[in-house]
């Protein structure tokens, strides 16, 4: 099922520049309903308080990392169905395996292009 352009998307990254980049790309791709969170805990609070259709998360963050957020989402009955795309500079094989085992929907290595982000979204929402 193609992605609903009105779905609420949560971009999680401790770097404001990265949040803005991803938000901008999403807007250009036709998704204007994008919110931001600074770390995993902030994201989890927002996810529990509202209804989101997609999460794009960084890996390395203070307070709660991306992989911890992913595990928390998959362990939560209300949130476990939300697709999570991990965007990270951690290109190590072990990290990818860890993310797959934790239930990641797809994985992008920084730096990435808008085309790659779109391609990954298409795969997630096909």
């Amino acid at each position: 099922m193609p992605a609903d352009p009105n779905m609420k998307i949560l971009v999680v990254d401790d770097m404001s520049t990265m949040r803005r980049i991803v938000k901008n790309i999403m807007k250009q791709l036709g998704f204007a309903n994008v919110e931001e969170a600074e770390n995993g805990q902030d994201a989890l609070d927002k996810l529990r308080a509202d209804s989101f259709g997609f999460v794009i998360s960084d890996w390395n963050m203070p307070v709660m990392t991306g992989i911890e957020l992913l595990r928390a989402i998959r362990a939560d009955d209300k949130l476990k169905g939300i697709p999570v795309l991990m965007v990270t500079a951690e290109a190590q094989k072990e990290n990818l395996v860890e993310a797959i085992q934790a239930g990641v929907s797809n994985y992008i290595v920084k730096p990435f292009s808008a085309e790659i982000l779109q391609e990954k979204m298409n795969k997630i929402f096909k």
Partner: protein
Amino acid sequence: MLNGSPKLYDELGELARYLETAMRKMADVGAPMVAGSAQLPQATAHLLDLNKMTEAGTMEVMRLTEIIQDNRAMAAKEFASVVSTLEAVDCKTLAARLGKTASELAQDDKHLMDIMTALSFQDLVAQRVKKLVTIVEDVQCKLVELVVVFGLKQESATPETQGKAGEMLKQLEASKSTAIKQDLADELLSEFGFK
């Protein structure tokens, strides 16, 4: 207790001499070590400044790019509206020309998006700087431990002025106070009669 053990006495003497030499050598490197440990917090602060500077620059490029993107989106809508109006009044050639121009301009949308994504370099730089800061802080802790353990703290040590590192640090520090903004430069220029 050492009576009757001349060999042990000799060995203890040798050990004492060795320890004294070692302490003297440690004292020789004491000043640079004290200086080094004192310089590291400043170096760390400058590294963190790099993050702030690149973040500010990146944000400004993003802000301007977003303005251009919004303006282009509005222009594209206008183009489409004019093209359909021209088609409605049977100005097909003009409409086609305008349509072609609009699609050529639309290619810049991709370039603008590429500019935005290229700015992710800032995140990668910031992450590496953070790691470097952690390493520098760790080295600083170890240096301080050495300074304390070997009692190397010297009142006369002048940390900022020692070695190349000290010189570079001085330059970095000086740039904080000597780097002026354009408005201040203009103010100074006008004071000297520049218009």
